[in-house]
Subunit: 212 residues, 2 copies
DNA sequence: TGTACATCAGTGAACGCGCGTTCACTGATGTAC
DNA sequence: TGTACATCAGTGAACGCGCGTTCACTGATGTAC
């Protein structure tokens, strides 16, 4: 029942898939390549995943859930909508720096699906809350969502490829600042919020989510 | 030499490719489908295009050149960087509303290539100009580029699918406003610029670029 | 203008590769006694 | 603890479909005289 081989094989496949999907267009990755990289027989693939598509979805969903859990945990005790948004952006960006493969996979994931994630729902709720509290000043939430999801999507792709981590940190701070400016926060206040959000990332992590 | 069949066949293939690439993931479009939709024999495809890839590139490049030419023409006599940026965004958005298929193709085009287009170079130059003139206030141009290309990419995908054109116009205006706010323009001034830029789209077009 | 010829676009059958998926078999792991 | 058995993960050869690409042939178009 708890055959350890099963977990090992499954994880080897997921690891290989992550590496390949990060490097190549999703459709360009053959199952032969995945099983070869994982060091398992081709047939094993179908012991674990129903199809290529299900496999890709499993990888993306694992990552998404991981990030979502981290953001929820990080914002657990934060009430200010501006700070919540800032922390969410900085956390996602930080994750992308630490986990470039995961970031590339997320960044390449189907754009049209970006609107449907709970992760997004949380951020949208924060923005709506900020609008209700008059902290944010925007005409409608729709354009803000497009900027946020588009901009952050580009950001994680950019960070995943950037070797200069000082430059990366700089870009993250500015992205966070710009988005808060978008929402009507004054630039000085936005910079302060972004820096505070970044600082919170540096403190020891309370929650380490397991990949396996 | 000027065999009219050649042009007709080529255009039929491009039209069919556009419709299919707009509807499906690029890799999911078979050459059989393209030639069937175009109403030509399968072999004709290779009389006109070296390969599948070359075909897809030709379609994307045609669209990109079209938009680029329109933006350059629209900004020919405009000096103010903020206005140039606003007009470029509004024009692209307007194009997406009028030409949803083209917008979908552009929106889905390889994200990692978005940085390498001349189209982008022009907008980046405008932003740098605005920074030099102290009209824009941002820490660095990098984050602005990410928001711009990411946000506008999401915008055109959104517009291409939105049937309600009043809502579309609303979203465009707000996107343009938010981006100008990002760059440090006060919200009231940003709204005025965006509205002025939109108005300029409505005047009779001087340059109608041919698709064929 | 009419005719004969050259050129080249169009055609679709045929080829062959790559790859997703299946399956019969092997052997490792867990369990009952 | 030891043995016999059941279960199920692992394996890779084999299958077959889909699709990109080729090619020999047809016939339309343009041109020379």
């Amino acid at each position: 029942m708890s055959d350890p081989r099963r977990q090992r094989t499954r994880q080897a496949l997921l690891d290989a898939g992550l590496a390949l999907f990060a490097e190549l267009p999703v459709d360009a990755v053959a199952i032969d390549e995945i099983t070869a990289k994982a060091g398992v027989g081709k047939g094993s693939f179908y012991n674990h995943f129903e199809s290529r598509e299900a496999f890709a979805t499993a990888i993306v969903e694992d990552i998404r859930r991981d990030i979502e859990a981290q953001i929820i945990a990080a914002n657990r005790d934060v009430a200010d909508p501006a700070m919540r948004v800032a922390r969410a952006i900085m956390l996602y960006a930080n994750y992308a720096m630490r986990m470039p493969q995961q970031a590339l996979v997320m960044g390449k994931a189907d754009l049209t699906q970006r609107f449907d994630h709970e992760l997004n729902d949380n951020m949208v709720a924060d923005i709506e809350q900020g609008m209700a509290e008059k902290i944010f000043k925007v005409g409608s939430i729709e354009a803000g969502k497009l900027f946020l999801f588009g901009g952050v999507g580009m950001l994680v792709l950019r960070l995943a490829r950037e070797k200069d981590s000082d430059l990366s940190r700089e870009i993250c701070l500015e992205m966070c600042t710009l988005f808060l400016c978008c929402l009507g926060i004054a630039r000085d206040a936005a910079i302060k919020l972004a820096k505070a959000a970044r600082k919170s990332q540096l403190s020891p992590r309370k929650f380490v989510t397991a990949t396996h």
